[in-house]
């Protein structure tokens, strides 16, 4: 069997063929390759069954904070014994040199080791040595001083008199710290040992090996859908018009027969631009006719000041209606696409700013069924094939329909674009005499279907890992 080996692999094999068991660190030193390269190389060799890796855990001990303190000043219980060596002392006397935690630890351990007596008197408790002549064992002190010199492997104390005191010291807080260190020892498998590095073909590379991911710089996924929608509208014979995001209330609302006390016009639904009023609204005739339509249809005092207030457009319809009012075409297919705004609480399904597209068909002979057909064709072109229509309500169209599209991933019908015929109350005052059919809706919703998203906010998070990996599922 011939092997195709990476240069890293070859170097590792070469080292291991002269010394059979080595840690990864050692291999790194020997080969002068980085630890990262060694880890990768060892992993490749392991997968090819050319090397075995055995993992072992080494524990080493060193002094903790309290241990270092004991090394410097002696263990608390040793210090206590030294204090009472020359005769009993009261708690207060002892506290003057052993405070707080040390005091408690000293009493507890000296008592546990049965070195001291505590006698309660009227003037306070007194401590004395139990047997002033006996030697107090110093095993623990020994351990501390040994660890003070160097770190120690715990097995060194096995089967010695120091084993028990060590165990008890390790139970005390912060005296001794145990470090766990994992080492990987690498050895060659039988096949690995037999590889003759000299005979390997040096020009061959492993063409089957895994490679790292590369990231493409790309158009934003939502923009990708926007472009697709724009392209599709153009294919369907629609010509794009553009308009400002900031609009007068006149074109955003009044021209669309939305009464001035309509809830949609309130601050809590629409963004008004602070202190900004339109300088030029429309032609005097347009203003007069729209005003009259409102007075006739809604029976109220129509206020031109209200119409001058600048808003962030709530739909792209303000752009299309102004185009129709100015050009009055007999035949037309136009569309407008761009950002629109709603003063909403942001959530997984609502944004304050999103993209909308709206197509308009003007024509003497155009019918509602035609509009349904155009829409069906639009959906087919962007890959949505199960479509049905339901009645709905829009303030400025009549009749109005909404299209429902079936989504396999969610297993349900999703409401997409709306459509309808502009009300005569909208078109007549603006001098538009032919029927105007409109259709459109939000684009993020379509993009969510395409990219399998359930949270619309993801499009504007600009999360690089998502931008780098997002892929179309429809």
């Amino acid at each position: 069997m011939s092997h195709v080996l990476h240069d890293i692999e070859k170097q590792i094999i070469k080292v291991l063929q002269s010394v059979p068991n080595l840690t990864e660190e050692k291999i790194s030193q020997e080969t002068k390759l980085s630890m990262d390269q060694i880890r990768r190389g060892v992993e490749w060799l392991r997968q090819k069954k050319l090397a075995d890796v055995s993992e072992s855990v080494n524990i080493s001990l060193s002094l903790g904070k309290n241990g270092l303190d004991a090394l410097k000043n002696g263990l608390p219980e040793r210090r206590l014994v030294n204090l009472v060596k020359d005769g009993p002392k009261t708690f207060d006397e002892i506290r003057s040199s052993l405070q707080g935690f040390d005091f408690n630890a000293a009493i507890a351990h000296a008592k546990k080791n049965d070195w001291i007596d505590i006698e309660k008197t009227y003037t306070g408790s007194k401590i004395s040595l139990k047997d002033p002549d006996a030697d107090v064992p110093n095993d623990s002190d020994l351990i501390i001083s040994k660890l003070g010199e160097k770190t120690i492997v715990p097995t060194e104390f096995d089967n010695t008199p120091l084993a028990e005191p060590l165990k008890s010291l390790m139970e005390r807080p912060d005296f001794i710290i145990a470090h766990e260190e994992k080492t990987k020892t690498v050895s060659l498998s039988e096949t690995g040992k037999k590889i003759d590095l000299e005979k390997l073909d040096s020009g061959a590379i492993d063409v089957e090996a895994d490679v790292p991911h590369v990231h493409a710089a790309r158009i934003h996924p939502l923009k990708d859908t926007i472009n697709e929608v724009r392209e599709t509208f153009a294919h369907l014979g629609f010509t794009e018009i553009i308009g400002d995001l900031s609009q007068s209330s006149f074109w955003n609302f009044d021209a669309l027969f939305t009464p001035q006390d309509h809830p949609a016009r309130e601050l809590q639904d629409t963004f008004y631009l602070k202190g900004l009023n339109a300088k030029q609204l429309a032609t005097p005739t347009q203003i007069k006719n729209v005003s009259n339509a409102h007075k006739k249809g809604w029976r109220y005092y129509w206020d031109i000041q209200e119409a001058k207030k600048m808003v962030l457009r709530t739909h792209t319809t303000c752009v299309t209606i102004k185009y129709l009012a100015d050009k009055k075409p007999d035949e037309a297919r136009i569309f407008s696409l761009g950002r629109v705004f709603r003063n909403e609480k942001v959530s997984y399904k609502h944004l304050v700013e999103f993209n909308q597209v709206e197509g308009i068909v003007v024509g003497k002979h155009i019918t509602l069924r035609d509009l349904m057909g155009i829409q069906k064709e639009f959906y087919r072109k962007i890959g949505l094939t199960k479509v049905k229509f339901w009645p709905t309500f829009f303030p400025y169209t009549e009749p109005s329909l909404q299209s429902m599209v079936y989504n396999e991933r969610l297993g349900k019908w999703i409401e997409l674009f709306g459509m309808g015929i502009f009300r005569p109350e909208v078109t007549k005052p603006l001098g538009i005499t032919k029927p105007v059919l409109a259709w459109g809706g939000g684009i993020e919703r379509i993009a969510m279907l395409k990219f399998g998203l359930d949270d619309v906010r993801e499009f504007y998070n600009n999360n690089l890992s998502w931008l780098r990996t997002a892929s179309k599922c429809q």
Binding site: A217, R218, E240, T367, I421, L464
Partner: protein, 547 residues
């Protein structure tokens, strides 16, 4: 859109046993009712604000009967002139709330669910048609507690009565201050010393419109006879609202007697239907159908309208509560609904139109293609952004700030005048990702001017330890040369708040400054918690590559 909760079994009882629950569920969307949730027997539907008659199951049942063919045409309304029910209007109301109207509903019975439906109806009517009670509001009362004639007049704010859901007397001022409805709707009455009031023949308070009824006339499941009154600023809208209540109570099985209204420009409401006469041809033409007159009549009847042929024309009779029907186009929609939207087959219109994208869109597209070619990732940020990102963190001059009123979100309060700060925010959010990071965005920026000016800009940034000024300048020059055959120069700029001193330049095309390019100032990077070097530029595209 308003929502109404329905019990399917109750709805089935109202519609009639001929319809099963599945038929009912399948038909709801074809009345324009969106099913929001379905949980066993309970279905929640969204209805359109133009059809307030769908605010209760009584109204929806009426519609379902029609579309399912169980009962068609107008439900005849008989308002008897018997009994001596009258309300007299005092002139003083003309300054605060000039109009009142109403009706007597008799011999009905209301179970718990019916009362619930009526309360839902009342709330929805107050919110929508009534414009939060400002334009018109309803009071429904137990008729048997009231002596006629009633008086609609005004009273002072120290007038006392026991309000609904209470057992003790309060003054009008107390109600306006202490009760929730008082606080929510008191402002409708403004500062006027006199407020509207309805009292009965014995001088008892019946209602304090548009705020609250008196406890005296509380409606319970034992109530058999009702007085409905609607007050408002406009006679017609008050009567519109009343007609909805009448239709729903009719569905609930009540019979009606007239409430005479007189005095101060008020008059007794008229529930007579209207007629519209129209040709069949335009209806067929706009729908793309070719249906006969008799089919057309049947479609209208399915929508609970009446219609007859008058020669070649159709005369359609519209009940009072269908005030959403303005004219011919509304009739077209009714025909479509009656015909069944499902039966309308999509058609494909022949067209000679050649579509095209707007020049500006095309050019922005080509910029995107070039920028991704240079290795930059496109990001999208909001044009309605926060002061913190745009000015505070970016350390920029905020004197020309353009803000919106009453935003519900702190993060969306001002319009951006620059794209670059948003890109820094994007870098800031991605500091845990691998470098180098390269971003660009093109889009609208705003500035002040008669009253506001919108232009398009392009900004881009590179963040990495190794990046430097010349790398970015190379991208800028290549982009303009390859994409638009434009030659640009960079001219030394002594200082700029956004960029490091000595590493910033103006972008100049044909002796005009069109943008800035440089290494971002370390303080600003610190504000955005970016730990690598960043170079970037922003350039105005409007006036350069398109108008």
């Amino acid at each position: 859109m308003p929502v109404v909760e329905l019990s399917l079994s109750r709805l089935q009882n109202l519609v009639g046993k001929k319809a099963n629950k599945k038929q009912i569920l399948d038909s709801l969307p074809f009345l324009g009712l969106d099913i929001e949730s379905l949980d066993g027997n309970i279905v929640r539907v969204e209805y359109s604000p133009n059809r307030p008659d769908y605010s209760t199951d009584f109204g929806i049942a009426l519609g379902l009967q029609g579309i399912l063919g169980i009962s068609k045409g107008i439900l005849k309304l008989d308002v008897k002139k018997q009994g001596n029910y009258e309300i007299k209007v005092d002139n003083s109301t003309s300054k605060v709330r000039p109009f009142v109207t109403g009706i007597i509903a008799r011999n009905g019975s209301l179970d718990n669910e019916s009362v619930k439906q009526l309360i839902n109806m009342q709330e929805d009517l107050h919110f929508g048609l009534g414009r939060k009670r400002k334009k018109s509001s309803i009071g429904i009362h137990d008729l048997d507690r009231i002596s006629f004639p009633l008086k609609y007049t005004t009273t002072s704010r120290d007038h006392r009565f026991v309000p609904l859901n209470s057992t003790k007397e309060s003054s009008i001022s107390e109600i306006l201050q202490d009760s929730e409805v008082g606080r929510d709707y008191g402002s409708i009455l403004g500062q006027s010393a006199k407020v509207p009031i309805i009292t009965d023949a014995n001088g008892q308070t019946v209602s304090f419109p548009p705020i609250i009824n008196a406890a005296l006339t509380t409606v319970t499941t034992k109530t058999k006879n009702l007085l409905v009154e609607v007050t408002g600023m406009d006679k017609q809208s008050a009567e519109d609202m009343l007609s909805i209540v009448v239709t729903i109570l009719q569905g609930a099985g009540f019979q009606f007697s007239q409430l005479k209204v007189s005095g101060s420009k008020n008059s007794t409401p008229n529930f007579a239907p209207r007629s519209i006469t129209f040709d069949t041809d335009p209806v067929n033409k706009i729908l793309g159908l070719n249906i006969s007159g008799s089919v057309l009549l049947s479609c209208l009847k399915k929508c609970r309208l009446d219609a007859v042929m008058k020669g070649k024309k159709i005369q359609c009779t519209i009940p009072r509560y269908r005030f959403d029907i303005f004219g011919g186009m509304d009739i077209v929609e009714e025909v479509a609904l009656g015909y069944g939207i499902d039966n309308l087959k999509p058609a494909w219109p022949a067209s000679v139109h050649i579509g095209e994208k707007n020049m500006t869109s095309e050019k922005l597209d080509s910029i995107s293609r070039l920028m991704t070619g240079f290795g930059f990732m496109e990001t999208l940020n909001f044009t309605l952004t926060s002061e913190q990102i745009l000015y505070e963190m970016a350390n920029r001059d905020s004197s020309q700030i353009i803000s919106v009123t009453s935003s519900k979100s702190q993060e969306h309060t001002i319009l951006r005048d620059s794209i670059l700060p948003g890109l820094l925010e994007n870098l800031s959010k991605n500091i845990h990702e691998t470098y180098p990071q390269k971003f660009f965005e093109s889009g609208i920026v705003f500035s002040k001017g008669a009253p506001i000016k919108e232009t398009s800009s392009l900004a881009c940034v590179t963040a990495s330890e190794e990046t430097h000024f010349s790398e970015m300048k190379a991208v800028l020059q290549s982009l303009l040369r390859i994409g638009f055959n434009i030659k640009c120069e960079t001219k030394t700029l002594p200082n700029h708040v956004f960029f490091s001193q000595g590493r910033v330049a103006e972008i100049v095309v044909n002796k005009k400054t069109v943008g800035y390019i440089g290494e971002l100032d370390s303080k600003i990077l610190e504000n955005f918690r970016i730990r690598t070097k960043v170079v970037g530029f922003e350039i105005k595209l409007s006036g350069l590559i398109f108008d």
